[in-house]
């Protein structure tokens, strides 16, 4: 796991699935390709609207950009989600909450850094209250620049993630 787990308490009732014997065996066989095909076609994302990009995140789930066509469904609970979209400024106060969300998501899971704030801090990169360099904390797979990016860019980011999963190059999953 790329998440550092030192400075906050364990979430009760959560087992962090790193690896086990079955997955170790599977990744040597062709079955992994089938699994990946299934995974890449059901990327359910977690709606956590944190900032300006959160508005575009909401719009993406709605009628105009019908993401259900690709099996991309917005979910409100982290227990149902596969993709965490960091959609805004991560402050020192919010980071523990975001880590908790990440830990509650069942593996395999991926992260998309949506917008400048998630990539580099955006316009608030020199602020006293934001946490810089989020990509060192979470294993970010796809970076979507823009402030905020359009909804189409988010859909495109999902496609890039699908490509990455198919090629087994993603950082989110242990094969």
């Amino acid at each position: 796991m790329a998440v550092e787990q030192s400075d906050y308490e364990e979430v009760p009732g959560v087992i962090l699935t790193d690896r086990n014997a079955i997955s170790d065996f599977l990744k040597t066989t062709k079955a992994q390709d089938v699994l990946n095909w299934g995974r890449k076609n059901s990327l359910w994302f977690m709606v956590n609207a944190m900032g300006c990009c959160g508005v575009e995140l909401l719009s993406t789930g709605m009628a105009h950009y019908d993401t259900d066509r690709f099996g991309i469904i917005p979910r409100n609970s982290p227990r149902h989600a596969d993709v965490l979209i960091i959609s805004g400024y991560v402050t020192k106060k919010y980071l523990p909450a975001l880590k908790k969300i990440w830990d509650q998501m069942p593996s395999p899971k991926w992260v998309i850094a949506f917008g400048d704030c998630a990539i580099s801090g955006g316009p608030f990169y020199e602020s006293y209250s934001t946490r810089q360099n989020v990509d060192e904390i979470f294993p970010v797979d796809v970076f979507v620049p823009g402030c905020p990016p359009r909804c189409e860019a988010l859909i495109q980011a999902f496609f890039e993630l699908q490509k990455k999963i198919e090629a087994k190059q993603d950082r989110g999953t242990e094969y």
Partner: protein, 158 residues
């Protein structure tokens, strides 16, 4: 009642505490107030001059003059005059009476000013940090001599 009569009424009521009054335009007046009796002044403003709407309250840091100003911007729902009330505090130990008994919504403004500037409010019901984590208390980030800004930790590729 226009801006001039309001400011006259205020300075006749508190001749010692109100000074440097100025009428900027028909809808903007500025006055300075001694910090000790700011609550009484606010009570008078609310009850007699119908200044019932506290727009905001904040601090301004002047390291050159070694002062911190606490500024109250008080508007009204009945007329369109906005009063800017300033109280000047020493920078080393800024302490001022809380106006929460008069304006209920001053609560959060005072908590925010406390953690960003270090202005201590006396008789505040619940003075604790509002927007920053507890361990950042004592850094006073909005003061001009704050060391942590700009934070250069972020990766900038250029």
């Amino acid at each position: 009642m226009d801006a001039n009569t309001m400011i006259d009424s205020l300075s006749t009521q508190f001749p010692d505490a109100i000074y440097d009054t100025k009428v900027e335009s028909k809808i903007r007046i500025i006055a300075k107030v001694k910090p000790e009796i700011v609550t009484d002044v606010c009570k008078y403003l609310k009850e007699n001059l119908s200044f019932g709407h506290l727009c905001c309250e904040f601090g301004v840091d002047y390291p050159g003059r070694n002062e911190i100003e606490v500024v109250y911007i008080i508007g009204s729902y009945d007329h369109s005059v906005v009063l800017t009330l300033k109280a000047i505090l020493p920078r080393d130990n800024p302490e001022i009476e809380s106006v929460v008994p008069v304006f209920w919504n001053a609560n959060w403004y005072e908590r925010e000013t406390y953690e960003l500037f270090g202005v201590k409010y006396l008789n505040h019901p619940d003075l604790k940090p509002l927007v920053l984590p507890e361990d950042m208390l004592g850094e006073w980030p909005l003061r001009k001599d704050y060391k942590g800004f700009p934070n250069k930790a972020a990766k900038n590729l250029v």
